[in-house]
């Protein structure tokens, strides 16, 4: 069980890292892009870069505001 936990923790740290909000925002950005492209026929290429930059700024704001 302990080994399984450390295996999971390794992959969580490897992929998600210090701030899970960033990963969640990227997933939301991708989902929105896919919905707009497939359901509404909108070519929303700009959503993901904007989400990525907003996620970076927000994550940096959160971590530095505490210090």
């Amino acid at each position: 069980m302990k080994q399984l936990k450390s295996f999971g923790a390794f992959w969580y740290d490897f992929i998600i890292g210090d701030d899970w909000h960033v990963a969640a925002l990227i997933a939301a950005g991708l989902a929105l892009t896919a919905i707009l492209a497939h359901a509404a026929g909108v070519n929303a290429w700009y959503i993901l870069p904007l989400t990525a930059l907003a996620a970076l700024a927000w994550s940096l704001h959160r971590v530095t505001a505490r210090k």
Binding site: T33, W45, L56, S59, L60
Partner: protein, 256 residues
């Protein structure tokens, strides 16, 4: 797309990983025992070869749109992690990743650990230290090579970038016989973060069904935009830190 940006991106990303692996291997080899250290390195390289052989062809068989969606998401998250850390280090909110102090930490721990022979390995500590270091850093190299190479349909160019980085860092390490402390690691990480975020965003959006204006040429705009955004973040956090420190300094002057 021209293979050069791909080779350069993979080279820089893999060089950073190679420097970190080299630091651990040198700490194990110089303070413990080279034979067990090399055994650990070889075991890790074999494990990496098995992982690559298992994952590589499977990734190649995935449909391109789904592959780009998953890989794009992973690279964007991965790249933003690197960018976040690099920006925090550049602005003093996080301690710089210092290879010299990392090396000293590993050396101190290695000197204190007892020598124990296990499973035909003379020094188990040196073996596991080298194994873990090479495997963990190597996994990141494999991830970068497979994702970048497969998405650009140019695994060969990605392998050239990674192999060159590993050879250059290894030769430099052997020549210096010390951790590569003069490598501007944080700025390299910042550059890698910019590239990973840009490529991840580009592929992720494509995988989700969007088409970029100008197709691949959009990357030539996206990369500078992400770089400028990272530079703006550094500027913003530096000014925030200065503003936060100013009242404290003033009160120090006023208080007798």
């Amino acid at each position: 797309m021209n293979a050069l940006p791909l080779i350069i991106t993979v080279f820089v990303a893999c060089a950073v990983e190679a420097v970190e692996a080299l630091t651990i291997v040198l700490a194990a080899g110089l303070t413990r025992e080279w034979r067990s250290t090399f055994q650990g390195m070889i075991a890790a390289l074999l494990a990496l070869a098995v992982i690559t052989a298992a994952v590589g062809p499977a990734v190649g068989h995935l449909p391109l749109a789904e592959l780009r969606l998953v890989v794009g998401a992973l690279l964007a998250v991965f790249g933003l992690q690197w960018l976040r850390k690099a920006v925090l280090r550049a602005t003093g909110y996080k301690a710089l990743h210092d290879e010299a102090s990392a090396y000293l930490r590993e050396v101190t721990a290695a000197k204190e650990a007892e020598t124990e022979a296990r499973r035909g390995i003379g020094d188990w500590y040196a073996f596991t230290l080298a194994f873990k270091g090479v495997l963990l850093e190597g996994l990141e190299v494999v991830f970068i090579v497979i994702t970048f190479g497969d998405n650009q349909k140019n695994i060969g160019a990605a392998v050239i970038g990674a192999a060159t980085a590993i050879v250059v860092v290894t030769v430099a390490g052997i020549a210096a016989r010390a951790p590569l402390t003069k490598v501007p690691e944080n700025w390299m990480k910042l550059a890698v973060g910019v590239m990973l975020t840009s490529f991840g965003t580009f592929w992720g959006a494509e995988g989700a069904g969007a088409s970029w204006p100008g197709n691949d040429a959009a990357l030539l705009v996206l990369i500078p935009v992400v770089a400028v955004a990272a530079a703006c973040c550094i500027r913003w956090l530096r000014s925030r830190k200065t503003t936060a420190l100013a009242p404290a300094k003033q009160s120090e002057v006023v208080t007798p």
